[in-house]
Amino acid sequence: MFYRESGQLKSSYIADQAMFPIAQDRWFVIGVLAVAFLVAPFFINEYWANAILLPFLVYALAALGLNILTGYCGQVSLGTGAFMAVGAYASFKLVGFFPELNFLIVLALSGVVTAAVGMIFGLPSLRIKGFYLAVATLAAQFFLVWMFNKVGWFYDYNLTGMITVRPIDFFGIRITGPEATPAAKYLFTLTVVAVLALSAKNIVRGRIGREWMAIRDMDIAAELIGIRPLQAKLSAFAVSSFYVGVAGALYFAVYLGSVEPVEAFDINQSFYVLFIIIIGGLGSVLGAFLGAAFIVLVPILLKNIMVGGMGFDSGMAGHVEILLMGLLIIFFLIVEPHGLARLWQIAKEKLRLWPFPH
């Protein structure tokens, strides 16, 4: 209905292959980014940043990473939590070694470290597939978290076993720790997430993205037309882990400030991110954001209704929340297993054809 596409002709391949070929989509995305960058920072407060926007952005980024691996390349991973931990600890150690290093570079290096670790744990994917691989990634989950918990070097032999972020300035603006303003934390995270999301969109539309999807859809055929499974799968593990690692670093350094590995990066964290991409939609960049919004907002909503509205004690509310999340996940999988992104896709198709039904 709102799609008025008549007259949007493409006279070059660049225009035809643009990220958002339909003008209305383009304007919508630009509008959202404009609001996110130019309007939201003026209204943000501690609660919005810590309860909603920062977790939303960080989980969206982690989900984006997992979606690259699972949604685009078809390799199920249950080790996301551990890879986030790698990113977190990498950034912690890097800041420790090079306190003057620009935090963007720290983030990038944390991502690279995580990518390397991801590739190592991705190696079995060449021999094993499906659930076997999923279970194998649990090895990474348990081993890495154990390692961060046991090996003192990682947490600087701190007695609590926790890591706490140092105050970091980014071009003179404090972005970590309690002194950083919510707006600064938010804007920094938003910038990183936006740039990485657009890059992901580019990657999945290009040669490498097609290789991943080919492997996902039919690995034997992909191999026989000249795609190297080794390269494709490992690149998916690497890129995916890079994103997850950066997300982990942001999770630790900007969002939480200090973490304890067993709690912050346990297997539930892996499931959490997996839920995001299932509910958001496998194989969709948009899906990572929709899923993250859903997963972050619904519990808040539930808690507000139950504790605020119905007067549950918070322990009971926690139990009910777990129950309801489970039900929601099952409901979603039954009704639309391809997630919110697919729902949006369908709605969009309908709007483009409106008033026609097909």
Binding site: F131, F142, V320, I322, L333, P337
Partner: protein, 310 residues
């Protein structure tokens, strides 16, 4: 000589634990074989069963609150079994039948959702505090073994291993000898074939989930007796996963042998490697073991080599 005794103790203890792993893995294999579903909720089912059983036995449970008395153990166990059957039926009615045509990853995800539901439900109904479960299994080391062979082995472990072994045998007989068992095996190969045997698919699913529910109950009893009924009980599912990759998702003997290997390997590592690296390696060692194994034999212990075709 003392060293050898110690080693033997470790191995036997490993075998005992292995049998318990095998028991949980068996629950997975049953469902996977018959429905292609990798049931992540298996562990939570064990927790749920243990919680229900506790409720029948304890005086701070719902059952006592409603009826004013508790059930004896011999009645509480079948009652819990009944609850697991009802649960299986509810799961089939509300979840599985709507997902027949979905791909396996989606089904897998659904069982994670199911695990959340059961966990939430268990917490709401029975509370999240640790509950001791005592159904009269003897505690402490076996004096007889200690006296005659100088072996220190928990009686509970012996009892658990024995029960598990019995259950495995019963299941094997169920699968090999009964009509429904044969139908279940048929369904693993071909849904159509199963239908032609005259058993409807939803019925098969209810049966298979009931059976794995009862397996979960047994596992719940054993682990619950050992360390109390609490949330961490559901994590035994995670213990069983390496067993599965080792033994193969569809192989009953694989689950048993795999369970034993993992049990022994883990105990050995815990005793001999653990102290060197700071302990608590049982969380991941089994996985690493299975993974290393897989790299050399991707199809698992009992899986057949797949010839890929195009």
């Amino acid at each position: 000589m003392a060293f050898d005794i110690f080693l033997l103790e470790v191995i036997i203890s490993g075998l005992m634990t292995g049998v318990m792993y095998a028991l949980v893995a068996l629950g997975f294999v049953l469902i996977f074989k018959a429905s292609g579903i990798f049931n992540f909720a298996q562990g939570v089912m064990a927790l749920f069963a243990a919680l229900a059983l506790y409720d029948f036995l304890a005086e701070d449970g719902w059952f006592f609150a409603v009826f004013g008395f508790t059930l004896p153990v011999w009645l509480a166990i079948p009652a819990t079994g009944l609850i697991m059957v009802v649960l299986a039926w509810v799961i089939e009615r509300t979840v599985l039948r709507f997902m027949v045509k979905q791909n396996e990853i989606i089904l897998f995800m659904a069982t994670i959702g199911l695990a959340f539901v059961l966990e939430g439900l268990g917490d709401i109904l029975f509370g999240s505090d640790v509950k001791p479960l005592d159904i009269g299994i003897p505690q402490g080391a076996s004096d007889w073994l200690l006296d005659n062979f100088n072996l220190y082995i928990e009686q509970l472990e012996i009892f658990a291993a024995g029960t598990a072994a019995v259950l495995v045998v019963v299941l094997a007989i169920f699968f090999q000898r009964t009509r429904i068992g044969r139908a279940l095996r048929a369904v693993a190969d071909d849904h159509q074939a199963a239908l032609s045997v005259g058993v409807s698919l939803d019925k098969i699913w209810v049966i298979v989930w009931s059976v794995s529910g009862i397996v979960a109950l047994v596992a719940g009893i054993m682990w619950g007796s050992k360390s109390g009924v609490q949330f961490s009980l559901s994590l035994i599912a995670l213990k069983a996963l390496p067993v599965l990759i080792l033994g193969g998702f569809t192989s009953v003997p694989g689950a048993i042998v795999g369970g034993l290997i993992i049990g022994v390997g883990e105990k050995l590592a815990e005793v001999y490697i653990g102290p060197m690296v700071g302990g608590a390696i049982e969380n991941w060692f089994a996985y690493m073991l299975a993974l290393a194994f897989l790299l050399f034999r991707p199809q698992g212990l009992f899986g057949e080599r797949i010839i890929e075709r195009v």
